[in-house]
Amino acid sequence: MTVSTKPKVAFFDFTGCEGCQLTVIDALQTHADLLSAVEIVQFREAMSERDEDYQIAFIEGSCSRTSDEARLKAIREQAQIVVALGACAHLGGVNALRNWQSSDDVRRYVYGQGGKLYDSHKALPIQAIIRVECFIPGCPIDRNEFVNALKALLQHRLPRLPDYPVCAECKLNENECLFMRGIPCLGSVTRAGCGAICPSFGACCEGCRGLVSDPNIGWLRAVAVEHGLREGGFEAASRLFLSHELMESEGDRHGKH
């Protein structure tokens, strides 16, 4: 028997819907040659074998319980490279909607009297607990971006993500701006890389890939109001995916426009 020299890869899941893992499985169907380049040693969603010897860890889901933190730290200890996979791991995801309320209240709504037994806290991106080398954004992730990121890591490079807004890709697709149809859209502050898939199908961008590094939120809010979105409507729309990022940058934003 020959010992494989391929890099060993493991997938882990925390608080999330597992849709990003499904996208990985989907990517294996179109990019079966991926298995010639790496050995997958742990992937609960797809296989029952389980090995704790791995170099690259892909982590899906947000960290939302005190008890998750030790497991995250153990993964960090073992892996040379940790990748946050998808919006929950990258941004806290939809789960972070609850961060606007007290954790006690949230536990009571969800679990009733038994709420006290759970150790859930705010939904956090895994970067809040452990160091990550890179992330693959999106809800769910884009399969090509996943494949390209893995190739980059195999070449000992960090994946290169766009740091410009979704609008750029939306225009390449020659879409009419959704604002012109009275549909508020977060495309102009959200990181591109998705090919503007939502606006191209007539649905607004909800910001699942996170903010670009220099988002002009103040002016976008003004644009939204100008196009008929009520005051506060922008906040409501942006909380779906950007709760954690917005809360983090709250202090900075007050000084800005």
């Binding site: 750029a168 102009s188 649905a203 220099d214």
Partner: protein
């Protein structure tokens, strides 16, 4: 001038004849995808939008289109194009050139002027093989604009509302017929086997002149500065407060550069296969409005604010390109003004800078007088 006349009804036959020999591209309606919305929603239906796309027949051709979302540059410089594939760690390279014979129908004169500028940019120095291959195999059928297409266009100011010296074939709408001017051998080739075409008579020339003359009054001047003053107006406005104000407003989305018919900046990216030794190299559109555009190894960014990036775009359009090619980098098509969500419009910006200068020199004269 050799003027030919073609009845409008003959377009169907013409496009059919051309389609047998060429890939025929022209302005056509864009179909937007509309999501089902809950009752009571205040959404508006999509507006009529036009794009340059491959024509399945004359019925798709919309020659009276106002403007298209993207300019025809996308035919010569696709949003993402394969440059070559490589094997054996790059020791074997297989060049990919697109030499499909193509006709682009219905290009407005502003866009034609823009293509001539792209030609300069891609042919100077080491000519760009990929661009040149597409360009050499493409024939342009331009059409005279008889009305301004939008309140954002300022083609009369930029001198692009009329034909450039170089063209292939140019149409002018005479009502029931088109007048055809032949500008090149490539253009004349398109008329092969066309049965309904005839040489213009004295009366046709008279009508043609009438139509062209009537244009003058219909197109307004919108810039308060003269075209020849623009490079120097910018040269003395580098530290103007205007750029800071616009930088606050700008979303940095790069829409303006995508829709610009003369913006050609690109990035080059490799996509490797899982063997990590073979793959493909692509060229993709880039934008000077993006934060990563002017950053270099070591992390320094030469234009690290939206204000600096926006100023650079205006300088490139109205000064740098005039300096290097003797052609204004802006053709006044108005697409960027139309597409900008925060209403940054070149006419307003130039007029604002100009008014500031006029105000300053007025004050100075008072002092000196």
């Amino acid at each position: 001038m050799n003027l030919q006349v073609l009845p409008k009804g003959a377009l169907v036959e013409w496009i059919e004849l051309l389609s047998a020999r060429y890939r025929v591209i022209g302005p056509k309606r864009k179909q937007e995808v509309v999501q089902q919305q809950p009752a009571g929603d205040t959404q508006q239906p999509p507006r009529e939008q036009y794009i340059f796309g491959e024509l399945q027949g004359a019925h798709e051709l919309e020659l009276s289109y106002p403007s298209t979302i993207l300019p025809p540059k996308k035919v010569f410089l696709p949003q993402k194009e394969e440059l070559f594939s490589f094997k054996d760690n790059g020791h074997q390279v297989d060049l990919q050139l697109d030499e499909r014979r193509t006709v682009i129908f219905g290009i407005h004169t502003c866009d034609l002027h823009a293509v001539l500028l792209l030609d300069q940019a891609f042919s100077q120095g080491a000519a760009d093989q990929h661009y040149m291959a597409r360009r050499a195999n493409t024939t342009l059928v331009s059409i005279e604009c008889l009305e301004p297409c939008s309140e954002n266009a300022f083609c009369k100011d930029m001198g692009t509302w009329i034909m450039p010296e170089t063209f292939d074939l140019h149409l002018t709408d005479l009502g029931h017929e088109y007048a055809l001017e032949i500008g090149s051998a490539k253009g004349s080739e398109l008329l092969q086997n066309l049965t309904n075409i005839r040489t213009a008579t004295e009366t046709d020339y008279w009508r043609f002149n009438q139509v062209i003359s009537a244009k003058w009054a219909r197109f307004p001047y919108r810039l308060e500065a003269d075209l020849s003053e623009l490079p120097s107006l910018l040269a003395i406005s580098y530290r103007s407060q205007v750029w800071e104000e616009l930088g606050q407003q700008c979303l940095g989305c790069g829409t303006c550069t995508a829709v610009c018919p003369t913006c050609y900046c690109f990035d080059v990216v490799d996509e490797v296969n899982f063997d990590l030794t073979s793959g493909k190299r692509f060229r993709v559109w880039d934008s000077c409005q993006f934060g990563q555009f002017a950053s270099v190894a070591g992390g320094h960014d030469f234009r690290n604010s939206r204000a600096a990036r926006l100023r650079h775009r205006f300088y490139h359009k109205f000064k740098y390109q005039s300096d290097s090619f003797g052609l204004a980098g802006c053709v006044g098509c108005g697409r960027c003004a139309e597409a900008c969500l925060v209403n940054i419009k070149p006419i307003d910006v130039i007029n604002k800078l100009h008014r500031k200068r006029v105000a300053v020199s007025g004050k100075r004269q008072e002092v000196m007088g």
